[in-house]
Structures are given as structure tokens and as C-alpha cells.
Amino acid sequence: MKNKLMHLSNETMNIGFVKKVEALSGSSVRRCFQCGKCSAGCPMSAFMEHPPNRVVRLLQLGQGQRILAGRSIWYCASCETCTTRCPNKVDLAAIMDALRKLSWDADGPSKESYVQLANRLFIENIRTYGRQYELRLGAAFNMKSGQFLKDLMLGPKLISKGKLKMFHSKNKNIADIEGIFKRIEEMRKKGEAL
């Protein structure tokens, strides 16, 4: 992907995608002049095939698909270092959020689906219980990612230290929480929310 020649034309530049990213993130992509400060400070750039500054450059060139096909957005830790240090006020952390949402919505195959899986389970926990139920989160992640033995030794230790609850009760206001999820879904259906 990295070394493939890039052809730019009205056909290959998906400007609609870039506009969506800008609308979702509330941040301009065009302001970036590629100083590279975001990537220099990024703790995760070593794990990414497109470090943050290149993600913005690809967006400027209308190459959203290249970003979504890679793993960069799923290696962003949301630490906000890039956003904090950008001299041109490009909110890269928000752009990463927007890209993850677009990837999630499209539900396209992701090479890095473990992070997506973990996120999905985390949100499911909120909808089901109101609060995080960490034991279920860990167990469900291991089952669904096929890593049955991951952190197996950690579980009993955490339980014995009182850090992991065996049982969990639902929030009393769980209906209110379900209402939030439902209303957001309805708004999306009607096109009233991005």
C-alpha cells in the first residue's frame, strides 16, 4: 500500500469523504502544512503505517480509502498530544475519531478489528448494565477474539485483590440509558444527526 503509485484525478480523489471527516470532526484538514510535529510526538506512530501527519496528507489528497484500509486509525490511543501541539490548530484526535466512526459505520472489513471488537463490547456493556462490568468485558473479548488464554493468570489475581467483581448489577436507570441509544439511532435514520 505504502509504495503503490498514487494517481490523483477527480475520479481518484474522494472529496466527499474528506468533507464528511471535516464535518464530523469539526476540524479543517486543509490547514495542515506538514510540519510533522504531530507524528514526532505521537506515542503510537511507530505502530502505524501512516503516521498522523501522513493521515492528514492523504485526506488532503482525497485518499480516504487508503487510510481506512490500513491500521493507523486503530492504533491511535486518543492521547491528544497531536491536537495539543499542532501549530495550525488541526484537531487530529477528532479527525481520528471521525475516521473510526466512518470505518465503523461502513462496517468494512478491518485488519485491526480487535480494537473495534473491544470498543463494541465496551459500549454493549454500557447499554446492558449502565456501567462497565470488567470481568464480562475481558471474558467476552477473549471469547470473541479467539484468545481464550489471554491474561488468564491475571483474572484470579485481580479477583482475589478485589479489583474484579464476579457479579454485576444493572443500573437502576437502565431504561434512560437505553432511551439515549434508541433516540440516537432514530436521529441517524431520519438524517438528523451525523
Partner: protein, 317 residues
């Protein structure tokens, strides 16, 4: 309390971690506030703020969950005290975005079926200790100064970044944690990794990332001569404390540490890398200890990297 002055009192949003893997943060926060005679009342029926996963995949959901929590907090008097750096960041971010963006606010108000409470001040525990209770008074209240304890103050990501959201301290060179440490009589060390990311919530999906980043933090603290690290985030605590043994196993061989790779063996004087245990404390544990709160009420039994040998060594237990 000086007569005539109203007693400080806060509503309290503990967040999910503080009721589970970070329970000692909750226990010690309550113990500390009691010792300082500051009121703390938990928001009834609060729910998860969504943390990083919610905004990673759906900003509207993330903002709505936080907005609903903020309106629940309205029911309890006093500014909202938050201990978890991630909850603090999410709640403040929500207020910040919704104040700036009418369109977003309207969408959120439809989602939560009510008005968003944007004016409830959200404050981190550090802010309350250093600014509202005040460093001078904090120093006066110390019963057992943490003399001789060298502490690496670890800020991590979300306490200070991006600066316009938490408004807690300078985003590149903060000092609030060191100020609190000095007031408690401890000795903050100068070290390089106080603002670096620990790998955050990748602990579930990509533990390898957490081991690498957290190893660099532990190593940096050891090189600076710190006896321990102080944190204000349950996720940082989890990564540095719960996974410390794994980190040592993964990076323990001579010259395979981050610094070993770069500088060869010079830094370690030609010997194996420093493998000392580094106990990880919550700011409230150290503060409460200095206030003379009994160690049994500080949740030390829940910590994986046992801090008791260090505290005994420094005659603080």
C-alpha cells in the same frame, strides 16, 4: 475550617474503574476528603461516561452519555469532583464542545431528552487539593510528612490535554502534582516520561503496546532515582501496576530495555538493567497517608506491586 467560611463540599462522580479495578482510588479519595473535612456526595445512579471507546466510534453517543451524567450531577449540590482522569476529560470535553457548538448541543438534548447541564463546574481531585483546599492549608494539615520519599509524578495524557479542555495546568510542563507532593513533604524527581502515554485502553485489545510504552515509563522513573510513581488515573495505574510483572518479563533481559537498545550498557554501568519494583500510588493514597489516615483504609491490599516494603523502609507505615 476557619470560622465564617463555608465548609467545602462536592458532588462526586467516581466512574466505573473506581468501583472495580481502581477501587483503592475510590477508597483513598473518600478517606482523604474525610480527613480534610471536605464533603463528598456520590451522584446517584451515575453511569459510564463512555471513556475512550465511546468517542472512538460515536461522538454523539459519547457526548450524550456525559451530558446525561452531568444532568444527574445537578441533583447533588456542590461542584462535581472527579478522580478518574478519563472521566474528568470526557465530562469537561462534553461541556466544552456543547458550549461551542449549538448544533451538537441540540442533537445531544434530543438524545438525552432534556437540557444539558453545561454550567456545573467539573473539577479534578488535584485541582481541589491544590487550588480550592489550597497548597498552604494542605501543608498545614499534614500530620506525617512523606520525608525521604522520592516520587515520580506521572500526568499521562488526559489530565492536561488538550489545554482548553481540562484547564488544569500547563499542557507541556505542568507542576500541580509536584506542588502537591512538596506540600506533603515528599520529594518529586525530575524525569523524562511524566507526560508520555502508557498505552491506555489498549490494555484489552493490544497488551503488547501497553507493555512497551509502560516499560519506558517505569524505566525512566527508575533512572531518575524515583522510589515510586504517583498517578491520578486508574488506567495508568492498571497498566503500570497490574502489568508490571509482565513488563519485567518482556523487557527484563540485559540490554533489551528501551534505553539499553539506544545506549548499550553504559547507562546500566555494564550490568543488567534495573529491575526494581516500582510501587504505583494514587495521589489520594499518598495525600491521605500524609494526613495520618490509617494505611488499612487506603486500599493498599488491592495493589499488585506491593508498596508496603517501600513505605516501611521510609518509616511511613
Amino acid at each position: 475550617m476557619t470560622p465564617g467560611k463555608k465548609r467545602l463540599s462536592y458532588s462526586y462522580y467516581p466512574g466505573c474503574s473506581l468501583h472495580a479495578s481502581g477501587r483503592e482510588y475510590d477508597i483513598s479519595t473518600r478517606a482523604l476528603f474525610k480527613a480534610l473535612n471536605v464533603g463528598l456526595k456520590e451522584v446517584p445512579d451515575w453511569f459510564c461516561c463512555g471513556a475512550t471507546p465511546a468517542h472512538n466510534v460515536d461522538e454523539l453517543l459519547s457526548l450524550s452519555l456525559c451530558a446525561k451524567n452531568l444532568s444527574l450531577a445537578e441533583e447533588v449540590e456542590g461542584d462535581l469532583a472527579v478522580a478518574c482522569a478519563a472521566c474528568f476529560s470526557r465530562l469537561k470535553t462534553t461541556q466544552h464542545h456543547l458550549k461551542e457548538d449549538d448544533n451538537k448541543r441540540k442533537q445531544v438534548e434530543v438524545a438525552i431528552d432534556g437540557a444539558a447541564a453545561l454550567n456545573k463546574p467539573v473539577k479534578h481531585i488535584l485541582e481541589i487539593l491544590a487550588r480550592e483546599y489550597g497548597l498552604a492549608k494542605l501543608e498545614e494539615s499534614v500530620k506525617k510528612p512523606l520525608v525521604g520519599l522520592k516520587v515520580a509524578a506521572y500526568y499521562g495524557c488526559l489530565l492536561t490535554r488538550p489545554p482548553e479542555v481540562p484547564e488544569l495546568d500547563d499542557c507541556e510542563d505542568p507542576s500541580i502534582m509536584e506542588d502537591v507532593l512538596r506540600a506533603l513533604g515528599a520529594e518529586p524527581v525530575k524525569w523524562s516520561h511524566r507526560m508520555e502515554c502508557c498505552g491506555a485502553n489498549f490494555t484489552l485489545s493490544r497488551p503488547g503496546v501497553v507493555l512497551k510504552l509502560s516499560n519506558a515509563i517505569l524505566e525512566s522513573a527508575r533512572i531518575a532515582g524515583a522510589d515510586c510513581i504517583m498517578v491520578a488515573c486508574p488506567l495508568c495505574h492498571g497498566n503500570l501496576d497490574i502489568r508490571q510483572k509482565e513488563i519485567k518479563e518482556a523487557y527484563g533481559a540485559p540490554d533489551s530495555t528501551l534505553f539499553g537498545n539506544i545506549f548499550g550498557s553504559e547507562l546500566h554501568g555494564g550490568s543488567a538493567p534495573d529491575q526494581r519494583d516500582v510501587p504505583i500510588f494514587y495521589v489520594t493514597q499518598l495525600a491521605a497517608l500524609a494526613m495520618g489516615v490509617a494505611s488499612q483504609s487506603l486500599g493498599f491490599e488491592s495493589v499488585i506491586t506491593d508498596p508496603k516494603p517501600l513505605l516501611r523502609d521510609k518509616q511511613l507505615l
